[in-house]
Symmetry: C2
Subunit: 157 residues, 2 copies
């Protein structure tokens, strides 16, 4: 067998990519979400569904458009996602007095209990990653991330 040099994966030169904020955001998100998904598996729900449940815990009675806007989910996609949760009895739509087009969204008791079962695990997950960031690292990170997501920090206009 000839001694063809097999390139080592570690020897891949990162180049421009690792200098890009967006690429590094994606890598970090993959790591954090991978861990988070493992937790949600225990209740067989997805991250997007968890976000819906969580925002309804804090804001019972929200309308679909509001919940969707707050989470960055389009109206046309929110409906089917919510249907899945409703079929499992975790949430419910209630009619709103005064506007027969809109519906108020609520957690059921089953939904509330599921979130309760996840609370400790989610807290542990969060603390694991906060620990990686060191003292004050998390609040520093969140501050920087808000500058990226908040259009008010865009000075290019």
């Amino acid at each position: 067998m000839a001694m063809i040099r097999k390139p080592d994966d570690d020897a891949v030169q990162p180049g421009l990519l690792t200098e890009l904020i967006g690429y590094n955001l994606r890598r970090a998100q993959m790591a954090v979400f991978g861990d988070f998904h493992r937790i949600l598996e225990s209740e067989d729900i997805r991250a997007a569904q968890f976000a819906i449940l969580e925002i309804l815990r804090r804001n019972p009675g929200l309308r679909q458009t509001q919940a969707g806007t707050a989470l960055g989910i389009k109206t046309a996609n929110f409906g089917p996602m919510f249907d899945g949760l409703e079929r499992r009895g975790l949430v419910e739509r209630r009619s709103i007095a005064g506007d027969r087009r809109a519906k108020g969204l609520f957690l059921t008791d089953a939904g509330t209990h599921m979130l309760g079962r996840l609370d400790d695990q989610v807290t542990a997950h969060e603390q694991r990653f906060a620990a990686r960031l060191g003292l004050g690292g998390k609040s520093q990170l969140l501050g920087l991330l808000h500058r990226l997501s908040d259009p008010a920090f865009d000075t290019s206009y």
Copy 2:
């Protein structure tokens, strides 16, 4: 018309979500990628395809498994993604002397030129977001993100 109070979108209480590192990573990534996608539209390519082109610019001759591993794309998915670029003449597979299973991946001249056309726009995009982060903010952010994506910082084992 009755004076039903229509809840204001701004009044949605964020709750737990905005305390989660993962959720804030996602929001920031949506903002940065939204801007980035607008740039890539001009050449009609996707972010994942850009990443493939970019890593081949720096690492010509990479094998599929290596490129996929480096970018976090599974082997079974890398092939079809690469096919799309190859059909457009931006990249090519070449046989490797000594291993008839593997193929070396290369940019074509067309692929190199496309990356060249994007360079200035990508740099401008990057500077826009770096500006939002303030002096030293970007290197601070990248340092924190690496702690999240690098398993070596996981102290929970």
